[in-house]
Amino acid sequence: MIHKFVSTTEEAMAGIPDGATILLAGFGAGTPEHLLKGLIAQGAKDLTLVVNAGGRDDGPIAELLATERIRKIVCSFVRPASVAARLFTAGKLELEIVPQGTLAERIRAGGAGIQAFYTPTAADTLLAEGRETRVINGRNCLLEYPILGDVALIDAWQADRWGNLTHKDSARNFNPIMAMAAKLTIVQTAHVVELGDLPPANIHTPGVFVQRVLHVPAQ
């Protein structure tokens, strides 16, 4: 029997190596905060973190950054008043700023086996400096490469033992595409359901993209 549930946070986070690239889902809602705390406890270092927002001064992302175990953040923005901004200014953190849609598309490309793509987004901006561009149908386009994770940390509303997931409302955001783009996709789910309880037409993230599921009841 396929059975992707794990019983403890330690088991969920086991084996994340130093130097790993971690995809962290969430956008206001849908952040797997329990797993993020698990990552802080797990201790892997020299990590690259791919996340939409480089964070604020509070919350678990700030806590993780404060450990100085993140070598680099790939994100669409960083608030000037944040742990990330301070670490970056102090030379303790690399920063790769990616437009939010390009970030989502690069992650989706990673999951879908696309090796590179051209987009007009950011082609005529500072972010294109020194990079490869090409005019296609009269539009200047920037060449973008896929983002792949060693690990994805994912939030779900429901999960079954095959790892099929649903996400609640706008908590879906980066969760399905980050699950696609990582070798080891670890999920925290608010609810556990029986195989077959999720209607086949309405599974938001199929289990094929999921390796481990931890039940973390909503508080």
């Binding site: 956008f27 206001g28 809602a29 849908g30 939409n52 669409s76 923005f77 960083v78 608030r79 000037p80 990330a84 901004a85 970056f88 200014t89 920063l95 700023i97 990616v98 437009p99 939010q100 849609g101 390009t102 989502a104 598309e105 992650i107 989706r108 987009t119 007009p120 987004t121 950011a122 082609a123 005529d124 901006t125 500072l126 972010l127 200047n140 509303w157 609640k168 409302d169 706008s170 908590a171 879906r172 955001n173 980066f174 969760n175 399905p176 595409i177 938001h204």
Partner: protein, 220 residues
């Protein structure tokens, strides 16, 4: 020809002025700042569908404090409601909507707009250590129409934000179609800015005096 007294629009006034020009049936993304307020001024019986980058189609009115749903926020991470007929998609699908030309309109705030339609809204200097791009570059190049909502002049020394050439780092080149300020509505045309509308009491000459880029009157 001297000015009669005029009263610049406040931020809500700009938002309301924009709302007037959005017809029923449009699919619209509203940026953070003044644009977010636009939806409050679209009458309920005019169906306009609002999109948020984080995968929300059909944003409804803000919830009352006791009805906040922690799983439902907009691109500014503010609690929202979903309108009847709305839908949720994931982030790549949401940006496929924005980047694939499926938005009839996007309204963004900006620091500056140039007469060729360039927009600068994400950094005040190329040397800023930390950048805040978000989804603005995607929206600016992807939407069918880009309108900008901003104050006509800077707060400090009253410099014009309506420029021949942007002085700040660009968000995108040649994409702005129209600018709504506290003083006027300007259309970006191949011949530069054309004044579509001015607030009551303001003359063309005064508006031009407050504007770095040359302005043209509406033909006819």
């Amino acid at each position: 020809m001297s000015d009669t007294p005029f009263k610049p629009l406040d931020r809500n006034g700009i938002a309301a002025r924009i709302a007037r020009d959005i017809p029923e049936g449009w699919f619209v993304n509203l940026g953070i700042g003044i644009p977010t307020g636009v939806s409050d001024f679209v009458p309920e019986d005019r169906e306009v569908i609002f999109h948020a980058e984080n995968g929300v189609i059909g944003i409804g009115p803000a919830p009352s404090p006791e009805n906040v749903n922690p799983h439902l926020v907009n691109a500014g991470v503010t609690p929202i409601t979903l309108r009847t007929g709305g839908a949720f998609v994931h982030h790549a699908d949401s940006f496929a909507i924005a980047r694939g030309g499926h938005l009839d309109l996007c309204v963004l705030g900006a620091f500056e707009v140039a007469e060729n339609g360039d927009i600068a809204n994400w950094a005040r200097s190329p040397n800023e250590p930390v950048k805040q791009v978000g989804g603005a570059m995607d929206l600016a190049v992807g939407a069918q129409r880009l309108w900008v909502a901003m104050e006509h002049n800077t707060k400090g020394n009253g410099e014009s934000r309506i420029r021949r050439v942007c002085s700040y780092p660009l968000t995108a080149k040649g994409v702005v179609r129209r600018v709504y300020t506290d003083l006027a509505v300007l259309e970006v045309t191949p011949e530069g800015f054309v004044v579509l509308d001015m607030i009551p009491g303001l003359t063309f000459e005064t508006l031009q005096a407050r504007t770095e880029a040359p302005l043209r009157r509406m033909p006819g």
